[in-house]
């Protein structure tokens, strides 16, 4: 049975961007929030260190400096007017969150506390600035909680554990989505004038990642299969400090509070790589510095293998700072490593963390490929690419992005649905999804998802990681193509209808495979090094050829690449030093 319902707006994903958009959209539009998770389980809740905004509570600061840092941090692939909006609106957004009850940590004068963070500077790069507004080391948790609480207060309608499986378009106008309900195994057609995808990250395409198991890029993959190009997918951020072997994030806030990275000789090696910003250089640079140390045999094991590690030392900060400012980090280290960071250094290695690329949007969240704007179709948060992060995102700017652009998309939707006409969509629109499900369920004795998932994660980690080169990226794309073929033989073992999470996992693997292919092909195509895309065979940035966004369209097992110009209307690209 296919169930059909009608709304003005559908928000897919209930993390920071989705919830903020829902709060805004639901002021005028009949809005449904659908999420594959229960409320408050979304990965926004795992963000730790803070949200950047030039409040100037500790020292002089300005949104202009924040915007400049964002552009420079993104290695000039950032659309500069979008970065200006981000930095200016960040101040209002942080006050708005506080005014809605968000419990920020406080300064002695009672104002919101701020700390230093990587790549955030005063006077256009002169030195680090206290810009990250934080709530201990669980800022994302507080944002997610506060926004969900506000949704409860405002009676926003939620559909928990509904997985999006298809997008309905009429030409370039949205008509709705097809959803898979976990509880019953039924398909639903939700008809709507506007649909926002805020499905979060794609980190599970890599072996070592800070991302939740649920971060499988569902939104971008579904749009890619609908023929919409993905922007700048080659730019994937490896956060320098993940817990060894597990990838669990250790916030940059540890370094913001004075923690330092050390190699096997006890050397404070960031002095060599970033003499001014040291350990607070942007993440791409710190991750490369760690890999360079490791490959030179100065990792802690010293075997020059890419899974060797370095120390992150916070033991000199004292127990009070550790317990007050980074209590959750201390808890993770004690739980998973048996290490007390107030006494001993933490073993860390780069961990796949954040997709700078994603669904291309304009500054109102509308899906905009540079050639066509899709009517009623929106994206926000990590799933989207505005682009405010360019080739490398600065710490804290992910939360700023959610709040600023989630809200802007929600406001645009609230206006848009007033004049948009109701689309037609019915049971037949679920045919494609139903046939796919049926095929999966009818297949006998096929493969498990596990080996395909593991292989994909290993290939992407080894060949499309911190350092890249042509042959390896091409090999990765070829491997992923093979895995996509093997995927066609995956069968479900669970033939039950209700709470069949195996079906969900298979859909998630398909999404990751498609995005892995786009990522590997986009990366192999860009013959320069910029931000997080760092090539051994093309070590220099090449503005002449490559100061442009990649637009990659999935066609069967091919990826067709086109480009979109970068907005450089404020600051002229310059070499990037810290």
């Amino acid at each position: 049975m296919i169930l059909v319902q009608e709304f003005d707006a559908i928000i897919v994903g209930a993390g920071g961007a989705g919830l903020y958009a829902a709060l805004e959209a639901s002021t005028t539009a009949r809005t449904a929030v659908v999420s594959k998770l229960y409320p408050q389980r979304s990965h926004t809740g795992a963000a730790q260190g803070g949200i950047g905004a030039a409040l100037g509570n500790v020292e002089e600061d300005s949104p202009e400096w924040h915007a400049f840092d964002t552009v420079k941090g993104g290695d000039y692939l950032v659309d500069q007017q979008a970065a200006r909006i981000l930095a200016e609106d960040a101040v209002r957004a942080v006050y708005d969150l506080e005014n809605r009850g968000l419990p920020f940590s406080r300064l002695p004068d009672g104002k919101i506390a701020q700390r230093r963070f990587g790549g955030h500077t005063h006077h256009f790069g002169e030195g680090p600035v206290h810009r990250s507004c934080y709530a201990a080391d669980r800022t994302g948790h507080m944002i997610l909680q506060t926004l969900y609480q506000q949704c409860v207060k405002n009676d926003v309608q939620f559909f928990d554990e509904y997985q999006v499986v298809d997008l309905l378009l009429e030409g370039t106008t949205v008509r709705g989505v097809v959803l898979f309900e976990l509880k019953t195994g039924e398909l639903h057609v939700f008809r709507a004038k506007a649909v926002l995808f805020a499905t979060g990250g794609t980190g599970r395409m890599f072996k070592i990642t800070s991302n939740a198991i649920s971060n499988t890029g569902d939104g971008p993959a579904i749009l890619a299969r609908a023929g919409i190009p993905m922007e700048d997918m080659e730019f994937y951020q490896f956060h320098p400090t993940g817990i060894l072997g597990m990838g669990i994030l250790i916030t940059e806030g540890v370094r913001g509070e004075g923690g330092i990275l050390k190699n096997s000789k006890g050397e404070h090696f960031m002095e060599t790589y970033a003499p001014t910003m040291l350990d607070l250089a942007p993440r791409d640079m710190v991750s490369r510095a760690i890999m360079t140390e490791v490959l030179a045999g100065r990792g802690i094991r010293g075997d020059r293998k890419i899974d060797d590690y370095v120390w992150l030392d916070a033991s000199h900060l004292g127990r009070d700072v550790v317990e007050q400012k980074i209590p959750d980090i201390a808890d993770f280290c004690r739980t998973y490593l048996g290490v007390d960071p107030a006494e001993k250094p933490m073993p860390v290695q780069p961990t796949a963390h954040y997709a700078m690329g994603g669904i291309p949007t304009d500054v109102d969240g509308r899906v905009d490929t540079g050639k066509v704007v899709y009517e009623g179709l929106y994206a926000a948060g990590e799933a989207a690419c505005v682009s405010v992060h360019g080739a490398n995102r600065l710490g804290t700017n992910s939360l700023v992005d959610l709040i600023v652009y989630g809200r802007r998309a929600g406001r645009h939707i609230a206006e848009y649905v007033k004049n948009a006409s109701s689309p037609a969509a019915g049971e037949a629109d679920a045919d494609r999804a139903r046939e796919q499900l049926q095929r999966l369920r009818n297949r006998k004795g096929g493969r498990h998802v596990g080996p395909i998932m593991e292989r994909m994660q290993e290939v992407m980690m080894e060949k499309v990681g911190v350092y890249r080169e042509q042959k390896e990226m091409e090999a990765a794309a070829a491997d992923v193509r093979k895995l996509r073929e093997e995927f066609q033989e995956v069968a479900v073992q669970d033939h039950g209808a209700g709470f069949n999470s195996e079906v969900l996992q298979i859909m998630e693997l398909e999404n990751l495979l498609d995005l892995s292919l786009i990522t590997a092909e986009s990366a192999a195509n860009r013959t320069e090094s910029r931000g997080a895309h760092s090539r051994k065979d093309f070590p220099e940035r090449d503005d002449e050829t490559w100061l442009r966004h990649t637009m990659a369209t999935l066609k069967g097992d091919q990826v067709v690449i086109d480009y979109k110009p970068v907005d450089v209307s404020i600051w002229e690209p310059k070499p990037r030093t810290y």
Binding site: L37, Y38, P39, Q40, R41, S42, H43, G45, A46, Y95, E98, N99, R100, G101, P103, F104, S105, R106, L107, P108, D109, G110, K111, I112, A135, A136, R138, H141, Q145, T146, Q149, Q150, V152, K153, K183, A212, I213, S214, M246, I248, D328, D331, F332, T335, Y336, H448, V449, G450, P451, M453, Q493, D494, G496, A497, G498, F499, N500, S501, E502, Q505
Partner: protein
């Protein structure tokens, strides 16, 4: 080392009652219980049902009963449960069996998945959102001292995993009790200097199924994976209600 997970399974579509199924998995002592569950579903038996997401103890999806105690599967390592023989690398007492069951006080949907609908309904009932005590500042933040902020810090750690709700012995005898997590989330606002506090939440908390059924068994505090001193917060909340009623010459629902 090899361990056996004895998992309590129930699928209402096919089972008339719960059954125990044993799975043998090879694990490292530092592996999480969740790692083994994932291994089972991805390589052995795709029909096993459980929830998970962040895999490091912040999203609250994978609370379950492990050897009879509520824990997060992603924050519990095998070395916390099984003694390893340092010479052989195997479990010291073979075969090492770990019992895994769904949370209590919520209906089982399938295997380790329970219906958290009623649990979240109780949460929503306490108005778990900011009710400002004063008008919104024209520009900037409400001013709050670090000491005022510290007063409600513990309550902000809650991830709504329902471990406390499962462990609470009061819910055995009174299923209508609002439960520890809802009170923690009320306390989050009651002790926030910016919030209108107790008054908007009294009609839920000061009732026979509100805070009063709690008998301070401390089971919630023992199992909380976020180390929130839940029983203490419940008692603070009771005290606030008594103070509030006494100041107005009224009786609490407990005294009535």
């Amino acid at each position: 080392m090899n361990v056996t997970l004895a998992i309590k399974r129930f699928n209402p579509e096919t089972d008339s009652e719960p059954r125990i199924q044993n799975y043998t998995v090879e694990v490292q002592p530092t592996d999480r219980i969740l790692d083994a569950l994932i291994n089972i579903t991805q390589n052995q038996d795709g029909t096993l049902g459980y929830r998970r997401s962040c895999a490091h103890g912040v999203c609250g999806s994978d609370a379950m009963r492990i050897n009879g105690k509520e824990k997060l599967a992603c924050k519990t390592l095998f070395q916390d449960l099984v003694d390893q023989n340092p010479e052989t690398g195997n479990a010291a007492a073979a075969p090492a069996t770990i019992e895994i069951e769904p949370l209590r006080h919520m209906a089982v949907q399938k295997d380790l998945m329970v219906d958290q609908g009623p649990f979240f309904a109780k949460f929503r009932a306490v108005k778990p959102y900011f009710v400002p005590a004063a008008a919104t500042p024209e520009r900037g933040e409400y001013i709050q001292s670090p000491e005022e902020r510290e007063l409600f810090d513990e309550a902000t750690k809650c991830i709504n995993c329902a471990a406390c709700y499962s462990a609470c012995p009061i819910l055995d005898k009174n299923p209508d009790f609002i439960g520890p997590q809802a009170i923690v989330n009320a306390a989050r606002f009651i002790f926030d200097s910016r919030d209108a506090g107790l008054e908007p939440r009294l009609d839920v908390l000061d009732t026979k199924d509100g805070v009063w059924p709690c008998e301070s068994h401390f089971e919630c505090t023992r199992v909380c994976p976020r180390d929130i001193k839940i029983t203490k917060l419940i008692n603070f909340t009771k005290r606030e209600i008594k103070k509030y009623r006494a100041a107005r010459g009224e009786e609490t629902a407990e005294q009535k």
